[in-house]
Amino acid sequence: MSLKISELPLAARLGLLALLAACSVLSLDMGGAARRAWQAFPPPQDRPLPEGLSAFALAAAMGDSARAASDIGYINCLQYMGGRNASDGFWAKTLPLYSEVQWLDPGFKHANVEGISALGWLYRRPLEAERLARASLASDHKEARYGAYIAALAYQKHLNSAGALGILETEVRRPDAPDMLLRVVGNLILQQRNWREALGYWTWVQTRAREQQTLDMATRTLTLIRRHLAAPRAPAAPTRTTD
């Protein structure tokens, strides 16, 4: 049997085309609506653009590749923080870089929490950390962690490390807490000069840390703490270990 589209009556051909076109449009609209209802976050372009947004991030967001772009942005953040950027306004681009990641994918909580921790306690810029935390909360208001961080940052702004520590200690026990937070909380405990508590905390960090950098830091800090505990009268305690 010979079957040819070009030999079908024109009306049949056009009718079939119209039917397929109608089904395509219908399924596209239904699929689009279902997708919008399903997505945890609206598309990035529906959120306020952060300052200093790169063209790459904008194009990726428009081109439906925000998640991968946020991953690349996150690697950029880590590279920037690991680099020698003290002269660059003491890692001044940390906020724009983390804001870009947050804008691209508010669901990348690990990066957001890490950015807030780094800004608030590593670079001692609680105002910038609070901006990032508030932007994160605005995008993902169901996430209670951001509220906790904002509270901790409020203490930090008034140099009340104990108050900040009180909030962050709960956060740090979460299984998905970034290593950055582990180190931040460890430093805050050291600032309290409570060597017994510091010993317990850093020993726990050794079992929990994922990054080699954190493990090395825990080993170094524990040596220092044990030296303090062994000495009959401890000399002036380190207020903060190098990160």
């Binding site: 010979s2 079957l3 040819k4 589209i5 070009s6 051909r13 079939l16 085309l17 397929l20 076109a21 089904c23 395509s24 449009v25 399924s27 596209l28 239904m30 699929g31 689009g32 609506a33 279902a34 997708r35 209802a37 399903w38 997505q39 945890a40 598309p43 372009q45 529906d46 428009m62 081109g63 439906d64 590749s65 925000a66 998640r67 991968a68 991953d71 996150y74 690697i75 880590l78 590279q79 669901g107 990348f108 690990h110 990066a111 890490e114 970034p178 290593d179 950055m180 994922r210 990054e211």
Partner: protein, 258 residues
């Protein structure tokens, strides 16, 4: 249909032996390997990065596989005239074009499956659950998008006057199909009704590859069974739009002079 499958398997076999496609397959496997280590750059977020980059690589290799497969076949058809023999065999032209489209899809599926297995092995080796059911679901939807792209490329391979033009149009449409996802929302910000309808028309006409992009919401896949529409409608859309564009291609192909 038997002849269509014979043609599809021949395309698949022929492409498997084509050096360009072999290099692409190997590149895909190497890229997956690199992705496993690229995740390490993300330190704590290693798993997320490995999964995201893995899926991204899967999509990219799928795109290039389909495109190159059609380009090679179109080159053979228009420049080397291999199809002058095939088209005189007792097969319909629609079977030839459909076979070509299916052959490209088969090759893409093989590449993607190979990469997925590689990713899984990498995860086993590194002790990371990179490949789980969510990632497999997302990969399946990428493959569905790739199948639609194969139909789109077949359309341009019939319509365009030269091989580079067909490749260029197909690539441009693929890129555009990722950008049109939010066009409907933009129409809400427009006042001019003509412009609104023009944008809507563009949204409906352009193949929408965003619909198949489950990987953007990978974390939600497992807990989204109640959102069946998210998974059902893309498939319906792919079938309808794919059939529509193939119908147009076949119609034109039947009337084409060789």
């Amino acid at each position: 249909m038997a002849e269509t499958l014979v043609i599809a398997f021949n395309v698949f076999r022929q492409m498997l032996r084509n050096r360009i496609l072999i290099v692409l397959t190997l590149c895909g496997l190497v890229m997956v390997g690199v992705v496993g280590f690229l995740g390490d750059l993300g330190q704590d977020a290693q798993l997320r990065l490995a999964r995201d980059f893995g899926l991204m690589t899967l999509e990219a290799v799928g795109f290039f596989t389909v495109l190159l497969c059609h380009v090679v076949l179109l080159f053979e058809e228009s420049e080397l005239k291999t199809y002058n023999i095939l088209l005189v065999k007792p097969v319909e032209r629609w079977q030839v074009l459909l076979g070509r489209t299916l052959g490209a899809i088969l090759l893409m599926l093989m590449n993607q499956a190979g990469m997925l297995v590689m990713l899984w092995l990498l995860g086993l080796w590194r002790g990371l659950p990179i490949v789980d059911s969510d990632l497999v679901v997302a990969a399946c939807y990428l493959a569905a998008g790739g199948a639609l792209f194969s139909a789109v490329t077949a359309f341009f391979s019939v319509l365009a006057s030269s091989v580079p033009a067909a490749a260029m149009f197909a690539t441009f449409t693929f890129a555009l199909g990722h950008f049109t996802g939010n066009l409907l929302e933009w129409t809400m910000q427009l006042d001019n009704p003509v412009l609104i309808w023009a944008v809507k028309l563009l949204y409906w006409i352009t193949p929408n590859f965003s619909l198949f992009n489950i990987k953007e919401n990978l974390d939600q896949v497992g807990s989204s069974l109640q959102f069946s529409g998210v998974f059902l409608w893309p498939l319906v859309y792919g079938l309808c739009y794919g059939a529509l564009i193939l119908f147009l291609s076949l119609w034109r192909y039947e009337l084409k002079d060789f």
